[in-house]
């Protein structure tokens, strides 16, 4: 056992209202700079939709993530020789047009325009060339555009559906969408690290945060293609790549990352997990249907005496182990098993997990009465119809499976049944119209019980900020001690980066 610690996240998609507050918090803090205007380390996508950059999930084009060749796990961008031989121009790299060209407006025209018959306007100009441009794409350009023929219908995840199912998804009554906020997953088996020829990208041993060393990055851009989530970005001004840093300066001072702190829907959870680093490669090597299970296997039980002893022996501090025990992410992911990684088939073992959304079911209003289409005739009462019709959920379960479980619908099915049992149980308490029989059945199919249901309910609906974010102590002072003088550091500011971050010659 080679125990390491990893900061992990859970996003509860039922709670996301798609307000983009998270993206703005991140933008204001980190990417409001020349060359980074187009970057959204955190972005919120409408699904079904093509996302940002457009069709990022299409790995046949972008070659992100890993694949198994025989018995070998290789970056989809191929092996080492191939990378170096293609270093002069790497074809699978997305360009600015796959994101959008950043722009501003010529505001001064509003003041300086000579008097005339027409209103002066502020023309959009490109932030790269300074020339006027026609805006054809922008941040969250496809926001809420469910059913759109350009965006929603080109979602790569729809490939898992039959033609009929796809058609149905486009019927006006069935139009549906949900939001999926995305950021760097700080993966256990990061493909960006593996594809960086300079070795500039690394995982911090103590907390698993994936960072790009700006002084070592030589701008070969392989990580941009290599990351299957397209969460490594090329700064066109500095000529270096950048990515989400999980607000490590905030975490080190005990603060919550900006996107999570500002989240209006309070959908975000952060906590530390213990995992077995020796298992990483093997768990990324199994067939698609086993990927989620093997990933969960690498995560260790922080209450297990054996794990605790081994962790201590490896120098993991007691406070960190306690933080792992209190981690909300451990509960969602491993204990209750209601959260799944996004696209596990990319094989990077992402450490950001999603609770899939309980989408509305298909229903219609007829003569003033709300009717669930295809309702289970044995379900007597309305609430059972509402809660039980899993097959009738408006987002086809296959679609969610394509997002969160490499196509395995049973995983989504289990989560749904459990979450529905939680809702029924809470309804039995607050409304009191659920029979004991129905409740028993719900608990059985949902593989849960009253105690767990209450815990899930509490952490979903009522958590305090300290319950949502359990930040382990990061022992920054020891880090400083190991690379320099603490007193020197105290009198300095910032990241110890003295030169201007820009291209020089």
């Amino acid at each position: 056992m080679n125990i390491r610690t990893q900061i992990s996240m859970v996003f509860h998609l039922d709670k996301c209202i798609g307000c983009h507050t998270c993206s703005i918090a991140c933008k204001n803090l980190w990417t409001d700079r020349k060359g980074a205007e187009y970057m959204w380390w955190n972005n919120v996508e409408t699904k079904p939709g093509t996302g940002y950059p457009t069709k990022w999930e299409e790995q046949s084009e972008y070659k992100g993530g890993w694949e198994i060749k025989g018995d070998i796990l290789k970056p989809k961008m191929r092996g080492r020789w191939n990378r170096l031989l293609n270093i002069f121009s790497s074809p699978p790299m997305p360009t600015i047009d796959d994101y959008y060209e950043p722009w501003t407006y010529r505001y001064e025209d509003l003041f300086n325009a000579p008097e005339g018959d027409d209103q002066p306007t502020a023309r959009p100009i490109s932030l790269i060339t300074g020339e006027p441009i026609n805006i054809e794409a922008g941040p969250n350009w496809d926001d809420d555009l469910s059913g759109s023929t350009i965006y929603a219908r080109n979602d790569p995840n729809l490939e898992s559906l039959t033609d009929l199912e796809r058609e149905q998804l486009n019927e006006l009554e069935r139009l549906v969408f949900f939001y999926i906020p995305r950021m760097c997953n700080h993966c256990l088996n990061p493909a960006c690290v593996a594809t960086c020829p300079s070795g500039a990208i690394y995982k911090r041993g103590e907390d698993g945060i994936v960072l790009i060393d700006q002084k070592k990055c030589r701008g070969w851009r392989m990580c941009v293609s290599g990351c299957p989530y397209k969460k490594s970005y090329y700064n066109w001004n500095t000529g270096k790549s950048e990515k989400c840093i999980l607000c490590f300066p905030r975490l080190e001072t005990g603060q919550v990352p900006a996107c999570m702190h500002s989240c209006v829907g309070r959908i975000r959870y952060l906590g530390v997990m213990l995992y077995d680093a020796d298992k990483i490669e093997d768990s990324a090597k199994v067939s698609d249907d086993k990927l989620v299970d093997t990933q969960l296997d690498t995560i260790l039980d922080p209450f297990d005496e054996k794990v605790i002893t081994a962790a201590k022996a490896q120098g993991i501090y007691d406070e960190v182990i306690i933080a792992a025990q209190n981690s909300p992410t451990y509960k969602f992911v491993k204990q209750w098993k209601v959260a799944l990684p996004l696209h596990p088939e990319f094989r990077t073992l992402p450490m950001l997990f999603y609770v899939p959304p309980l989408s509305p079911i298909i229903a219609k209003m007829e003569s003033g009465k709300f009717d669930v289409v295809n309702a289970d005739s044995t379900a007597q009462t309305d609430h059972l119809q509402l809660f039980h019709s899993l097959a009738d959920s408006r987002v086809p379960i296959k679609y969610l499976a394509s997002l969160f479980s490499a196509g395995d619908t049973s995983k989504i099915d289990h989560i749904y049944k459990k979450l529905i049992a939680v809702r029924l149980y809470m309804r039995s308490i607050t409304v009191g119209d659920v029979t004991q029989d129905d409740l028993k059945k719900a608990f059985e199919t949902g593989n849960t019980n009253a105690e767990e249901a209450v815990m899930i309910y509490r952490l979903t609906s009522l958590p305090s900020i300290d319950e949502r974010f359990v930040i382990p102590p990061m022992y920054r002072e020891e880090a400083i001690e190991s690379f320099g003088d603490v007193y020197d550091h105290k009198s300095g500011i910032g990241f110890g980066f003295m030169q201007k971050a820009e291209r020089r010659l």
Partner: protein, 219 residues
């Protein structure tokens, strides 16, 4: 006097400048040690320019150096009718890199986004390389079997420089265009540390054997 400056002092000077400032930039500003890539702004033309350019020029450069370091093996390679094959391959590679360069130059001029991020040194390098490859092709076509007389003129001259017994008489008799080719080459060496050419040194060869995953610990 001019000759001894151009073919003795200047080569020494340019190599000295290159070494000192390359080391200086490496130690004081390693952040900048790369070639600024504009592939993110324009992808398609770059492929047709950059790939032929790099493959052409790297092989030709290696052949120049190969003749310099192991002249014996090089002479064997050229023996008999093999020289015709050798020269045609060389010429083919030269054309390849020349075409690549022209595509790169056109791209830099015509794509407004790429123009916007171009530095003066980018234009300078394009110009110098166009001249260098162009003059090389011209020499190959007009002064036959350059690969052979290179061995008897420039190679011993450079060796004389290496061994600190400089003797410019090997090269002063060469035609003007060859002299310009030589001087431009040493000028290019001198400006390595002041341009994006430093990326030659940061070629990521260790990638071939390092493990895929990297973790950094502060303990």
């Amino acid at each position: 006097m001019t000759n001894s400056f151009l073919f003795i002092a200047f080569p020494y000077l340019s190599v000295t400048i290159a070494v000192i400032f390359t080391v200086y930039r490496f130690t004081t500003d390693r952040y900048s040690y790369s070639s600024y890539s504009s592939q993110f702004l324009e992808n398609k033309e770059l492929f047709w320019g950059s790939v032929p350019w790099h493959y052409g020029i790297i092989i030709i450069l290696l052949l120049h150096i190969f003749a310099l370091i192991i002249p014996g093996a090089y002479r064997w390679l050229l023996a008999g009718s093999r020289i015709e094959l050798f020269e045609s391959i060389g010429l083919g590679l030269a054309f390849l890199s020349f075409v690549g360069l022209i595509i790169l130059a056109v791209r830099r001029l015509s794509d407004s986004k790429v123009t916007a991020v171009s530095y003066a040194t980018d234009w300078l390098l394009l110009f110098l390389f166009l001249f260098q490859v162009g003059s090389g092709i011209y020499i190959a076509l007009t002064y036959r079997w350059g690969s052979l007389w290179y061995l008897n003129t420039i190679v011993p001259w450079i060796w004389s420089l290496f061994s600190f017994t400089p003797d410019s008489s090997y090269v002063v008799v060469l035609p003007m265009i060859v002299k310009l080719h030589i001087l431009n080459a040493f000028f290019l060496i001198a400006i390595i540390p002041f341009t994006r050419l430093v990326h030659i040194i940061s070629a990521p060869i260790p990638y071939l054997w390092r493990p895929y995953q990297i973790a950094r610990w502060y303990k």
